[in-house]
């Protein structure tokens, strides 16, 4: 097999439980985003734009949808004779078979896969971040610094720093300290979960880490600190630009709204860095007489007869006459019936909001469907849920099934 200088491994096995009902039946990377994408499209598109043509996608939690979505990889030009995209679920081997115990273990279990391509460098990525990044530049930096590991970092607001893995680097960009979610952060450079490793070095650490029964086999908790402790050459690569971890309902909602800002905080209209996705086979969207659509993103197959304001409609959404959608994200195939009102909500795929129903109603007691996952006044309606006529659902609600409290 032809030697690839660089290979990417995308960690896409996590459940993303903080997304509540949105990840009930799909893994987080398969959650829809931005009108026609899935979260993993951003990472896959970054790979192809960075000239990385060999990509392993490590799946575990609810992989069916993700597997089908990735398919042969042709939407991202990753259907290739040499390289291409490979979905890598955990497997049974002669000695044993086990689930991926942690992020590092997931790569460990696929050492053979990586070795087949015999790459000099491996880029480890998360399948659940929204950003546009040229990994090739980072690999160049890694080479220049003759590093064993390079970690992409981004400046975050000081008050949020304790939510992230925080790096402290010296003036040459060499990492001197790493703290996972520190109470008192010494720096505001957060790890983006984007790593470049020299494969030979990483392989050794993965093998040693596996032998340690105390280890949780995680990059952030184990591999990085151990490498740092052993004095390996580890560098921080500063990334500037938009980057968002969409791990919670609120951050997912915010990141979607960032697209709608004028000018957009995150610009998808970039012909030199298109985000590729599996495109639906749907006609252009139709906006009827009497409809109103302002500050919105609308995609193919939608039918809008009502009023849509500051919202994102995915493919094939219907907004009937007199219905109002505001500050919301409506996933593919959902129907907002006549006169229904949807405010600051995320509506799952193929959901139906009945005639005259109200989602995100400030005057309704929200305890019925309250959920720890829904904060900031955002409501969440699960995929396939039908909200009955004239039903009122309060703010911060999560409806998994009608009448069932939103605990997923």
């Amino acid at each position: 097999m032809k030697k690839a200088e660089c290979l990417a491994m995308i960690l896409a096995g996590g459940q993303g439980s903080r997304l509540g009902v949105l990840t009930k039946s799909v893994a987080k990377p398969a959650v829809p985003f931005g009108g026609k994408y899935r979260i993993i499209d951003f990472t896959l598109s970054n790979c192809i734009h960075s000239g990385i043509y060999t990509v392993g996608v490590l799946t575990q939690y609810q992989p069916l949808e993700l597997n089908t979505y990735i398919g042969s990889g042709h939407p991202w030009d990753l259907n290739r004779n040499s390289g291409g995209v490979y979905v890598l679920p955990p497997y049974q081997s002669a000695e044993k078979g086990e689930w991926y115990k942690g992020t590092a273990n997931a790569i460990y279990q696929n050492i053979e896969f990586v070795d087949k391509f015999n790459p000099k460098y491996v880029v480890i990525l998360s399948g659940d971040h929204i950003y546009k990044m040229d990994y090739a530049k980072m690999v160049e930096y890694h080479k220049e610094k003759n590093a064993d590991a390079t970690i992409a970092v981004i400046e975050v607001p000081w008050e949020e720093a304790s939510r992230f893995g925080i790096m402290t680097a010296d003036e040459n960009g060499k990492i001197v300290e790493f703290a996972e979610k520190p109470k008192e952060p010494k720096s505001n450079l957060a790890s983006m979960g984007v790593y470049v490793f020299t494969w030979e070095v990483l392989k050794k650490y993965l093998q040693n880490d596996e032998k340690d029964p105390q280890s949780s086999n995680d990059f952030g908790k184990n591999i990085i600190p151990t490498m740092l402790g052993n004095g390996e050459n580890m560098c921080a690569y500063a990334f500037e630009g938009y980057w968002k971890d969409v791990g919670t309902v609120q951050s997912l909602w915010e990141a979607n709204m960032d697209i709608l800002a004028d000018p957009p905080a995150f610009d998808l209209h970039d012909n030199n860095w298109k985000i590729y996705s599996r495109n639906p086979v749907k006609p252009p969207h139709y906006i009827a007489k009497g409809a109103s659509v302002t500050n919105c993103c609308v995609t193919e197959g939608c039918n809008v007869m009502g009023s849509v304001k500051h919202s994102i409609l995915f493919e094939g959404v219907t907004v009937e006459k007199g219905a109002v959608v505001e500050d919301s994200i409506v996933f593919p195939g959902s129907i907002i019936r006549e006169g229904a009102i949807v405010k600051k909500a995320v509506i799952g795929e193929e959901a139906v909001i009945g005639k005259g129903a109200v989602i995100g109603d400030e005057n309704t007691d929200s305890s019925k469907y309250s959920s720890p996952y829904c904060t900031g006044g955002i409501s969440l309606i699960g995929g396939g849920v039908t909200v009955s006529e004239n039903e009122k659902i309060g703010v911060n609600s999560m409806v998994v099934e009608p009448g069932q409290k939103g605990e997923n």
């Binding site: 086979v281 006609p283 302002t294 500050n295 993103c297 609308v298």
Partner: protein
């Protein structure tokens, strides 16, 4: 339908489309916001289970080739059969380029001989409909037909009928008369430019017609066949839009704003496939006002759009009004423009405050890449 193959005849012989076909063949005409005309016949073929399709081109076929590519959007990028581009064949320095459909077919004889399907669906690629050919083929076999022509009943004698092929069909379904571009058509049965013929029969007919110096498939070959062969008609009863003039191009596009037509064409289980462009969703700004319009992905809309069809990647700036018009891919309409009854071809730019107004039955055309 493993036993039928398809041949799409991509000709440019349509003078009534003016500037629209100056740089492209008729099947390559952009349609309905994100399609090209060829998408309909190609999707219909694929949805009927046809896996072997040849596209016979004449001149200016680069936009068609660019659009069809390897055939992947139609699942025609196959090892076994798939999509074949059949450019004009040049024999001893004499090309078929300006000759008729018989000459064009003569050029694809090798493709016909190499294929193994028993039947051929010959189609023009200018008809907008969502149909499959199973029933037509069954009828063809059942009747023992040599040629089956597919037609629909226009119900009224209009201008378009006078530049179409019009059939007379008796109660058995046998075609008894053919008129091409009749001034006073005898019936309202308009041909859809689709024919089912046995593959070997087609080879035989083309060789024969070519040897006699005939050029046109319908005028020469088919009209002759009515008297000598079993020619039957198959009536299609769904929506049919035939694009053969600027006016019909405009009208058939506008028909897509009709909810029932749109549902039949795009909402059916059988999909209409087209080349994927990976455009972002369309962005509507604070000032946008939209009514009764079909809008594709990748647009930025700040102005007013009414009763129009907007293709992918169009920008309509603040204060601009687009009414009863078609705006093709990547065109830019700057601030305070006023557009009505107009067809704006691809990649045009209208600088601020331009006014362009046509008549509903005679739209103005702004040719490709015009800067106004």
């Amino acid at each position: 339908m493993k036993d039928m193959m398809g041949i799409i005849m991509a000709d440019n012989s349509e003078l009534r489309l003016n500037e629209l076909t100056e740089f492209r063949s008729v099947p390559a005409l952009p349609f309905g916001g994100r399609y090209r005309l060829v998408d309909f016949i190609l999707s219909n073929m694929v949805n009927s289970g046809i896996i072997n399709v040849g596209v016979a081109t004449s001149i200016n076929y680069s936009s068609l080739m660019d659009h069809l590519g390897s055939g992947a959007p139609w699942d025609l990028n196959r090892k076994i059969y798939g999509l074949f581009m059949l450019p004009p064949y040049v024999r001893g320095g004499v090309s078929d380029i300006s000759a008729g459909s018989v000459d064009q077919l003569y050029g694809v004889l090798t493709f016909l001989r190499r294929s193994r399907q028993q039947y051929v669906l010959l189609a023009s690629g200018r008809t907008v409909c969502n149909m499959t050919f199973d029933a037509a083929l069954s009828q063809h076999i059942e009747k023992g037909a040599d040629i089956t022509v597919i037609y629909h009943d226009k119900k009224e004698k209009d201008e378009q009928l006078s530049h179409s092929t019009v059939y007379e069909v008796n109660e058995d379904g046998r075609v008894t008369g053919i008129e091409t571009e009749p001034h006073f058509p005898k019936t309202t049965l308009q041909g859809m430019g689709m024919f089912i013929i046995g593959r070997l029969k087609l080879i035989e007919l083309i060789e024969d017609a070519y040897a006699r110096g005939s050029h046109d498939f319908v005028r020469d070959l088919l009209r002759n066949a009515v008297n000598t062969l079993n020619v039957f008609g198959y009536e299609y009863k769904g929506f049919v839009g035939t694009v053969d003039s600027v006016r019909s191009y405009f009208e058939v596009n506008m028909k897509m704003l009709d909810a029932d037509v749109r549902k039949e064409i795009f909402g059916a289980e059988n999909r209409i496939y087209t080349k994927v462009k990976d455009q972002v969703p369309t962005q509507y700004k604070e000032t946008s006002q939209i009514s009764d319009s079909l809008i594709a992905d990748g647009c930025v809309i700040e102005g007013k759009v009414e009763n129009s069809i907007i293709f992918r990647g169009v920008h309509i700036a603040k204060g601009a009004v687009v009414k009863n018009s078609i705006v093709m891919q990547n065109s830019v309409i700057e601030e305070n423009c006023d557009i009505e009854n107009t067809i704006i071809d691809k990649e045009c730019t209208l600088r601020a405050s331009k006014r362009l107004v046509g008549q509903p039955n005679y739209p103005v055309i702004l040719p490709k890449r015009t800067l106004l």
